[in-house]
Symmetry: C2
Subunit: 214 residues, 2 copies
């Protein structure tokens, strides 16, 4: 899948970096997650040298393309362009969506993180194609995620827009249905898949739990 | 001046961020430095939100353009493209020069940081238009600058290439001529101008000291 035939489904949305976890390479984790049914992979790498990000990112992008999984790059529009990603995801301190649009045109979609109605409204005004809403619950995966917003924020934003919404932050198999019931089009997770003993099984279970809502 | 009529002179090369220093705004510091005669301004901002970087960066870029000063953006090729900078400068952990070239084409020049012959050779192979060589002397301005390389590295690199070389790291009015005598085409400074009581006077003195070498 690419943006040209994107069905607006976000489903199970995996956020990951290029590092090994539990002795598994990023590529192996991505393969397992795809086998388990993830719909989207976002590469969010804040620390590694960019030549490593480019090298592993190209492999991840090809893997996603080969399996009909959307591939999104966090923050760096330049890296997204080089990897020919399907989309770029920007946070509140990254490039604003309208500036990012000047670089990617309509070839790539743009997701924006929002942790309040104000941020959501601004992102929509600036042309966001989807919103990442959170942190829904408390999380240890992102040190600057702020206080949890609760799933209610998804319902509030749902009331003002039809763009896809993905909840993020502290989402697990136990609370993912609550996120979907508040109007989300998908759930974004890091540790629930990457940190699981069996990433494929973890992805598959998440997918099954949210299946009724997408 | 832009890359189309760049005379390959680097001269006094100011590296700065968008923050206030000693009660002076970045724009005021840049204005003073330009009045003092700087040839190049590189915007190197690692912390501020990108919407602020874009906003101040556009003003800095216009100021440089109006005064025939080259304007270069550090690290972020996406920001360099948005600001329509003259060039982008990449470190060893940033995008490699050949990847950056795929994004900027020949509209923008690409500088690369090198702290060894190996790094210099690789940067030249990857199409660097100039090299930033250092840290020449010990510096407090860049926490990851590594051990000083001494001005001899400039002479060593000078022997293998004719691309412009700018020394960086701990350069002051007292040691700048030594850097130039080893074959540099310019001296890059942060605190020697930004941290000076009178940035204009500091820039002018540096300019006078290196005038005989360019």
């Amino acid at each position: 899948m690419t943006i040209q035939n994107w069905d607006k489904r976000l489903g199970v949305y995996l956020v990951m970096d290029i590092g090994d976890v539990n002795g598994q390479s990023a590529l192996a984790i991505a393969q397992a997650a795809i086998a388990g049914g993830v719909d989207v992979i976002q590469l969010r790498e804040k620390k590694a040298p960019l030549h490593d990000v480019i090298e592993t990112g190209r492999k991840l992008c090809k893997l996603c393309r080969d399996h009909g999984v959307l591939f999104i790059v966090n923050d760096r529009v330049d890296v997204a362009l080089l990897l020919e990603a399907d989309g770029v995801h920007v946070g509140q301190d990254d490039l604003p969506a309208d500036e990012a649009r000047r670089l990617v045109g309509t070839d790539m979609f743009i997701g924006v993180s929002a942790s309040s109605m104000e941020e959501a409204q601004r992102a929509l005004e600036q042309g966001a194609d989807y919103l990442g809403v959170g942190a829904i619950y408390a999380t240890n995966s992102k040190s600057d995620a702020g206080d949890p917003v609760t799933p209610q924020l998804i319902a509030d934003i749902r009331a003002i827009t039809s763009v896809p919404l993905v909840g993020i932050g502290g989402i697990t198999v136990d609370n993912c249905t609550d996120v979907m019931e508040h109007g989300a089009d998908g759930v974004a997770v890091i540790s629930a898949i990457v940190g699981a003993p069996d990433p494929k099984a973890a992805a598959a279970l998440l997918k099954r739990r949210i299946a009724a809502y997408i």
